[in-house]
Structures are given as structure tokens and as C-alpha cells.
Symmetry: C2
Subunit: 343 residues, 2 copies
């Protein structure tokens, strides 16, 4: 493969000149510039990113760590981040931790070796000391997405989780529901705790009781959500509507309904957080509180780029994004009296 030296030789200029036209620095005269470009073309020259990063002390690489790339939230996020990064001349290194902290740590080490210039992290699981120190070793700007981590001084982009919980619940109440099941994440996670807070607030604001029996932990995953949903249905007084606080759990909830032949919204209403690409393709079309994923990815990259250029300084800022309620057909009026599917 051709090197910069080959190009210089062919164009009959110095290596430094070739480098200058590559980096459009130091005003190169038009004639030389043209000769150099022609030579690069003829040799189909591609610079060596490794060598460049070695000398420049910056790689043009940005890391993105997500918990589960098969989750539409994260694949949309990647898409948004990659698009924005490409516009800024950066390449995105995607790491899929599969929700396992050991893999996340391995990826963190790998990214350090790759000398990434910045990192966008959607942290999986709880905060860990280990992760904090690995992040610090990176010595580069870090932007957190989806889940903020307090006290580390990083920038973050998060959903207004309380409001998301509030709006979903209020919508169900508006449809006439009074017993609303909640399939939530583990309340040690801030996101889950805040969504729960919004749920409570909506209930109390409408003068409705908060029944602890109706609040279940689905750990943000499908299987546990199915279990939680089954428990909800087994209650002496099952809810007439269910609110699942992320997309995986929404799928779990729907699966239980499909397995039991329960109709939605006739037998039970469902709303979720996170819109799904196929929400409009199933019947009933699913109502959801959507996160502005694209905007979140762009905001995260924008913060990162501003840190990298030095135009943003000082302690980390948290940018809170507003959720958007998509009303479709999965939340109807509750059946009066004893629901059809009981006993």
C-alpha cells in the first residue's frame, strides 16, 4: 500500500508538503496542491490512521458503549451519534456490553488502547467504583446518556423521567382507569425511581390511591416483566391498565396478553415508555411515551464535540429532554364491573 513518501516522490515534492495538503494547513500553492492530489489519486493513497494518531495524539475516534444493541433505543442512538460524528469528522467505535459490567470494563480498556478522543456511555446496571476509576483513567471527555451518574462531573443527556411517568399515567387516568399496574425497573436505578415518582404524582393528583400491590419490578427486562405481568393478572383485583416503563418490558407485557388470549384494550389497556418501530403495525397500535432518541444522541455528541474543541469548560451539565406522548389505540375505557379475564 502506498505511503506518503510514495506520493511525495511521484509528485516530486517533500513529504511535508503532502502532509500539508492533506491537512490543508500552511497554504500550499495551487500548482503543488494539484500535483499532490493527482499523485494521491493515481496511487489511490489512504493515510495510515495509526501513524497519524501516534503523532497527532488524537485518533478521530469516539467510543459509544451501549447495553444492548438489539434494543431499538440503542440502535437508534447509535445511528444518531454516528451521523452527527461523521459530520464532525469522527468515527464511532460501538461497543455492546450486553448488559454485563465485565464486558463493559473490557471495552473501556480496549477503548483506552485505541486512544479514543471522547466517550459516550449509556451505563448498564448500577454505578460501580471500578467503572468510575476506569473512566477517570481515560482522561478524556465523557458524556453519559440515559442514566446520569452523580458526582463524577460528567456531562449527561437524560429523559425527564418523572414527567414521562406522569404523562403515561395521566393518559391512562384520562381514559378512565383507576387501577393502573406499573411494571417498572429496579428502584435502585434513578431512572426507575423517577418514573415511579411520576406515576405516583399522577395518581395522587387525580385523587386516586397508590396501591403497592400494583407496583412490580420487571428489572427493565422482558422475562422478569412477563413474570411481573402474570402476578398482576393473578391479583384478586387485577388492574384495568398497565404501564411498562421501557420497551423490553412492554414486549413482555404484550406477550403475556397474547399468550392468554387477552384483548387490548378491551380486556386491559397498555402503555409503555420508548416508542417501538412497529408500534403502528400491530393491533392494537401501541400508545407510548417516546424518548427523543435522535435528539438525545445529537445532544450528547454536541456536548462531546464542544468539550473536545475546548469551547465548553467547567463542571458537567445535565441536559434533560422532554418525552413525547404518542396516543394510539392500546388504551381504551376500562370495562365496567369485573374484568372478563378474572377467574
Amino acid at each position: 500500500m502506498a505511503t506518503i513518501r510514495d506520493v511525495a516522490r511521484l509528485a516530486d515534492v517533500s513529504v511535508a508538503t503532502v502532509s500539508n495538503v492533506l491537512n490543508s494547513v500552511d497554504r500550499v500553492s495551487p500548482e503543488l496542491s494539484a500535483r499532490v492530489r493527482a499523485a494521491m489519486e493515481k496511487l489511490s493513497y489512504a493515510p495510515h490512521a495509526g501513524a497519524r494518531s501516534l503523532r497527532k495524539r488524537s485518533s478521530g475516534l469516539i467510543g459509544l458503549i451501549v447495553g444492548d444493541i438489539t434494543n431499538p433505543f440503542f440502535s437508534d442512538l447509535f445511528e444518531a451519534v454516528e451521523d452527527a460524528a461523521a459530520a464532525g469528522g469522527y468515527l464511532v467505535l460501538l461497543c455492546n456490553s450486553n448488559e454485563r459490567s465485565e464486558r463493559e470494563e473490557a471495552h473501556l480498556r480496549m477503548l483506552r488502547t485505541q486512544r479514543i478522543d471522547g466517550l459516550i456511555l449509556a451505563p448498564t446496571g448500577a454505578a460501580s467504583m471500578n467503572r468510575a476509576s476506569l473512566l477517570a483513567q481515560l482522561e478524556i471527555p465523557v458524556v453519559l446518556v440515559d442514566r446520569a451518574m452523580e458526582g463524577l462531573g460528567y456531562d449527561a443527556v437524560v429523559l425527564d423521567n418523572r414527567r414521562a411517568g406522569f404523562e403515561a399515567t395521566r393518559h391512562l387516568i384520562g381514559c378512565g382507569h383507576k387501577r393502573i399496574g406499573l411494571v417498572n425497573g429496579p428502584d435502585v436505578l434513578r431512572t426507575a425511581a423517577e418514573r415511579l415518582a411520576g406515576y405516583r404524582e399522577a395518581l395522587l393528583g387525580a385523587g386516586l390511591p397508590v396501591d403497592p400491590e400494583l407496583i412490580r419490578d420487571g428489572t427493565f427486562r422482558q422475562q422478569p416483566a412477563e413474570q411481573a405481568m402474570s402476578e398482576l393478572l393473578a391479583l384478586p383485583q387485577p388492574p384495568s391498565a398497565v404501564f411498562a416503563t421501557n420497551n423490553l418490558m412492554t414486549v413482555g407485557v404484550m406477550k403475556v396478553l397474547a399468550d392468554r388470549g387477552l384483548a387490548c384494550p378491551e380486556d386491559i389497556s397498555v402503555i409503555g415508555i420508548d416508542d417501538l418501530p412497529w408500534a403502528e403495525a400491530v393491533s392494537p397500535q401501541l400508545s407510548a411515551v417516546a424518548q427523543p432518541v435522535r435528539a438525545m444522541g445529537e445532544a450528547a455528541l454536541d456536548l462531546l464535540l464542544r468539550r473536545l474543541s475546548g469551547s465548553l469548560q467547567g463542571p458537567g451539565t445535565t441536559s434533560v429532554m422532554a418525552p413525547r406522548l404518542h396516543i394510539r389505540r392500546s388504551c381504551g375505557m376500562p370495562a365496567t364491573g369485573r374484568p372478563a379475564h378474572v377467574g
Copy 2:
């Protein structure tokens, strides 16, 4: 950030020795090895991948180009490839071409600059001269996934598309359907042509006519598939079942049904190629011909690794994977007589 020289100084050995323990080459004595490891630990040393790739002429990077990372097929593929690559000590650079050939070409250039060691490509759109020459310039092993490209001599991993088309159609026929709509990809693509061939074969094998009116081009995308499905429904004699030859188009077909309030399978049966993560969560649970995505990703990486190690030589081989029919509830018996939803 600490360099290999810092480590050598702290451990009081030569730089070469540190390099040797890093690459476990040239038998280093246990004492020195321990001293070096301790020093690396204390300095939390991370080698510089760029410098290493500069000298070694190999980067430990593998490229993966897909058309649409938000498509579950591709995100599953990435997951499989990344897992297998990690086991082999490689890092995967994911590129999302968004089904646009210009972005694919930009990515190809970028990957060359990054000096990837090998490439897995799920080509988007038709074969192009431009792409062929960019691939050749890479001068590294390439494995094609999903779509083979003839005559370039690359290894490939593809689905047995004819069989997938055949099995889906035969299943519908077995349910009693006689007029089966096909929402297919553009028949300039081999995958689409082969799936169509399987469809024909099943029909003819059952002594049923192949009605060209029932065969529509949905270009493998959701919107056009919706259009195609609408046309199918507008036919004087609409089909009693529809077969969509990929997941995006299956969503499009279902969307049209949901929009019109048509019930599946009561009003019309549906089967698709590509299983969907939520196929069991919707009602009716969707039947599908699944591609063994994980196995395909692993097979592709295995081929690549064997090319890289030199244990595989000679002209490219194509590995054909068997589809798997998942029968669920979206394909019922056709209603007798004139379908309820017609005029």
C-alpha cells in the same frame, strides 16, 4: 499517559523486554515478567494501538458494514460477529450505510485508512463497479453476508433463499390457501429472485397457478411494502394470504392490516421471512421463516479468521444456511367464499 518506556524504566528492564511480556514471545523469565506486570499495573499502562499497528502492519480491527443497524437482522448480526471477534482478539468497527451506496463507499475509504485486517460486508443495493474496486484496494480478506456477489472470489454466507421462499409458501398452502400474495424485494437482487423461485416452486408443486398480479415489489422496505399490500387488497380477487420476504416488509404488511382494521388470520393470513424479537408478543403471534442470524455471523467471522490465519486458501467458498420455519398463529384457514374485507 504512560508509555512502554515508562514501564521499562520503572521495572528496570529494557523496552524490548516489556514488549516481549506484552506479546508473550521469546520466553521472558518469571521474575522479570512479574516485575514488568507490576510496573504496568502501577502505571495503569495501556499500549498505543496506533503505534502497534504501525509497526506490526496489522491493527486487530475488523470492519462490519451493514445497511441498517436498526433492523433486528443486522443488530443481531453485529452482536454475533462482535462476540466471535472478541473471542479471537479482534475489535469490530461497525459501519451503518443507511442503505446508501455513497455512505458505504465513504465507509470503505475510512476502513482502509484505519487499516482493518478484514471485512464483513452485507452489501446494500446492487453490485457496483465502484464498490468492487474499493474492495480490491483494501487488499484484505472480505466475507460477504446475506447477499453474495458473483465473480469476485470472496467468501460468502447466505441463506438458502429458494428454500425459505418454498417453505413459507408451502406452509400457507398447507393451511388451505390458494391465492397467496407475494411482497418481494426487487428481482434484480439475487436474494429476491431466489425467494420468488421458491414461491413459484411451491405453488406449482401443489398444482396451483402462479398469478403475476399477486406478485408485488416492495423493494425490501416498509413504505413500498405498504403500497404493495394496498394494491394486493384492491385486487378484484384479493389473496387470502400474504408472504412478505423480509422483516421490514412484514411490518409494512401488518401496518396496512392494522390501519384497515383487518384481522389476522381471520381476514387474511401473513407470513414473513426473518423472525422478529416481538413476533410472539403481538396478536396474532407471527409465523415466520427465520434466518439463523447468529450462526451466519459466526460462520462469517470463522471464514474471515481462517483467511487471516492463512489456514484457508484458494477461491472463495459460499456457505449456504438453512432457514427455519416458526409456525405460530398468523396463518389460519382461509375464509370460504368472498373475503369479508372486499368491497
